[in-house]
């Protein structure tokens, strides 16, 4: 072979040495992560401040009242009824769509995720405008289950697909029937998924506002927002906020206690086979009624109602100029918020993927704790802080965006961290060995390759922002007209026809959410 290349190039002398950085994390990255962590501590700091500042007597006089007791009881009762029902429904649907020969499983799987495209307050609006007599606990429980069960369904099917099919074969070889094998060896492996999904639903139920206002069921969040709207930044709302935070902490503690510390990860690569499928036999038609009925109630009725109101109202009731304006405002908040929250998540997610350690773990838990706090607390905290120390920010778009950053930070961290972790560090090192500066290699190789995952995470945040109601209502500057606030203003005036186009726009904008989440849970492309 003839040599087409010269030998080696002269290294350009002198090579300049730089002091070693031993910590593994660039100081700028650490400072950025610590800044975001400080921001994430605002709501928790606010709670502590309210506790210290109010003093025992004020707190006791405002909290130990019959009304507060009733609201707390109503909130807990809702949790106690809706949570187990959500999990049971999610489990039954997951078993039917993943482990039985139910006809049309792929369709039912999609339809079980689809309710996530309909914001809970839109679902409540559909039911309320069709059956105005629905009031109180049981309708609240029913609509909560229909709106939130997919949050448990998704992690359960994802975990069901990860369970090594060989364990069921082994259980069968040890003399257990398929049904018993499922209960003995598969169900325990779903524990973390059930608890994780359950915690998510519990926190959503605590934070939900619109649904319970429409069904006239007073929970803590409803009472706090009402109080806030009557007296801005008053001690009564703030103190009830503390009760709400206590409920959230109770849920976290319950989940941690039930989770335990046993190992559930599968050992080794496992068998690459399809798991056994239960034969439903002649009762198939009856089983189909379950997913069909749930889909009719959770998707069918809301969509039919929305379309009916739009048809009755006719094109004039669609308020096209207002709809366009609201769409533009919602898009601005969604895009700006998603960009900001992704930027805020990047430092700590980068540390988690590339330089994990005790400092990073501590910072990450500070980032994540804010996710357990309801939107109403974040809003109360930002009102309190802007009114006292940053008045120019009070009731500005900037404050709304900070609220979105705080509310969606955990969601963004999880997707950014997972996307970065999938890019091998060797690729970045390879680029550095080929002469790229560390920053250029990080941006040009690692971030570039992580972009699809980060983009999907941004889409999830953007869709969350479009349908966020509570904090937006409490913080938005006067004159803000997003899809959610416009919809809410019209339902407040019982303008069902006028509200429908805004609701439909939110549903359409949320459809990609279902597609992304379905793909993440099933691993399908």
């Amino acid at each position: 072979m003839t040599l087409a290349l010269p030998g080696t190039a002269e290294t350009s002398f002198p090579l300049r040495m730089e002091r070693h950085r031993r910590s593994g994390v660039h100081p700028a990255l650490l400072v950025a992560a610590m800044t975001v962590a400080a921001l994430a501590l605002i709501p928790a700091g606010f709670v502590v401040w309210v506790l210290v500042q109010s003093g025992w007597e004020t707190a006791a006089s405002l909290l130990f009242r019959r009304r507060v007791g009733e609201i707390l009881l109503a909130t807990l009762l809702l949790q106690a009824l809706a949570l187990p029902l959500c999990i049971a429904l999610a489990l039954v649907l997951a078993w039917l769509t993943e482990r039985s020969d139910l006809p049309g499983r792929a369709l039912w799987r999609w339809l079980a995720v689809a309710p996530l495209a309909i914001p809970a307050f839109v679902m409540a609006y559909a039911w309320d405008s069709t059956f105005p007599m629905l009031r109180g606990l049981w309708p609240a429980v029913g609509i909560s289950v229909l709106a939130y069960f997919p949050l448990a369904y998704l992690p359960i099917i994802a975990q069901l697909r990860r369970v090594d099919p060989a364990v069921e074969d082994v259980a069968a070889s040890l003399g257990h029937s398929p049904a018993k094998a499922f209960i003995l060896v598969v169900l325990p492996q779903l524990r973390l998924a059930i608890l994780g999904g359950g915690l998510l639903i519990g926190l959503h139920l605590l934070a939900e506002y619109g649904l319970y206002v429409l069904i006239r069921y007073d929970t803590l969040t409803v009472a706090i927002v009402n109080q806030f709207q009557a007296v801005y930044d008053g001690p009564a709302a703030n103190l009830m906020g503390i009760v709400l935070v206590a409920c959230a902490l109770g849920l976290l503690a319950l989940e941690a206690a039930l989770r335990g510390n046993r190992r559930y990860a599968r050992v080794g690569g496992g068998a690459a086979r399809h798991p056994p499928m239960a034969r439903l036999g002649r009762s198939k038609a009856l089983w189909v009624l379950i997913p069909a009925g749930i889909s009719a109630l959770a998707i069918g009725l809301p969509l039919v109602t929305l379309l009916r109101w739009m048809l009755i109202g006719g094109i004039d009731a669609w308020h096209l100029p207002e709809l366009t304006a609201a769409l533009a405002q919602s898009s601005f908040y969604a895009v700006a918020g998603a960009l900001l929250v992704t930027l805020a998540a990047l430092p700590v997610a980068w540390m988690a993927a590339r330089a994990p350690g005790p400092v990073q773990r501590a910072l990450e838990s500070v980032h994540l704790q804010v996710g357990a706090l309801p939107g109403v607390i974040v809003a109360l905290a930002l009102v309190a802080i802007t009114v006292r120390v940053a008045l120019p920010l009070y009731q500005t778009a900037a404050t709304v965006l900070i609220a979105y950053v705080l509310l969606f930070l955990p969601r963004a961290i999880i997707s950014v961290r997972a996307s970065l972790a999938q890019v091998p560090a060797e690729l970045q090192n390879g680029a550095i060995a080929l002469g790229r500066s560390p920053l250029a290699a990080a941006v040009g190789v690692t971030l570039r390759l992580a972009m699809p995952g980060i983009g999907a995470g941004m889409a999830l945040v953007a869709m969350g922002i479009v349908t966020e109601l509570t904090a937006t209502l409490m913080l938005a500057p006067i004159g803000t007209e997003t899809l959610a606030t416009e919809f809410w203003a019209r339902t407040g005036e019982f303008d069902h026809m006028g509200a429908a186009p805004f609701a439909l726009a939110m549903v359409v904008l949320s459809i990609p959410l279902c597609i992304i989440l379905h793909r993440q849970a099933t691993g399908a492309r």
């Binding site: 002091r19 070693h20 560390p438």
Partner: protein, 344 residues
Amino acid sequence: MSVLSIRHLGKRFDKTWALSDLNLDVAQGSRTAVVGPSGSGKTTLLRLIAGFEAPDTGEILLDGQPIANSEAGVPAHRRNIGLVMQEGALFPHLTVAENIRFGIRDQPDADTRVRQLLDLVELDRSMADRQPHQLSGGQQQRVALARALARQPRLMLLDEPFSALDTGLRDQLRAATADILATTGIATMLVTHDREEAMGFADQLVVLREGRLAQAGDPRNLYLAPADATVAEFLGPSIILDAEIRNGVAHCALGFVPLAGHAGWTGRGRILLRPEQLHLAPADGLSATWQLQSVQWVGGTAYVSIRRPEQSVTLRFPSGQYELPAAGERCTVRVSGTGCVLGK
């Protein structure tokens, strides 16, 4: 002249020294292989040279110029040291040509160079527009080599680049890589845990053990005259015997064995022979002192066990002999070449 000089190099992770007091020179145009069991510090050494880790003691010099010591170092991207990693680590979002061009994209003749490099690593030019996932494992490694060669590095580091390949392909690619590097004249350091790969590739073999240099030198010398029993066993099947040594000749269970380079030596010690030095022959009367206990054929190699009853010595070793006495027969053992005295 040495391209790479390593002086008293040490690296600590928490309280464990992954590498300590290592001294090493790599000559211009040479091929060095670093071998050692897992945890011996091979990869740490490579990452220190490449600039991905900072040493705690000692220094590293490239062309006589310091590039790292315990205080400071030249950043990895300015060292111009080539790197080929396990499974290639090709950028999955770039085509073959873009991967190769990655380190030289600012240079005006980049496209010409890409074509020359494809030729050099014997890849068809039509592959330039393929995506990495469309290539076989061997082709991916050729692209990774071309990508590293594009910048005409002072030194090439190969981090187990053949370990993910099938045996046949591995030997073929190893030979091709050695040829290509010889053509370009770039000094190379290969890190591997595979001793045959190391011995087949290098003209300098470096054995690491628990973060220290166990021995370095010509591969054949190291194989025949290792410093101690551990190095001997790491480099290949060994027959280690207690011996009484007088004037450069060992008296052991195999009789009198001449020793290399130990003319004046006298005393007790242990000597090393390699299995291929031993030839078994059927008993020819009085001299038959050994009994062939068992023979197990695996392809062309026989795993034999021979015993000398009166001295209670049993030897087990692989033999490449075409014909062997049958199991149970008495036999004689002839030794070719010289033995080597092992250190403690």
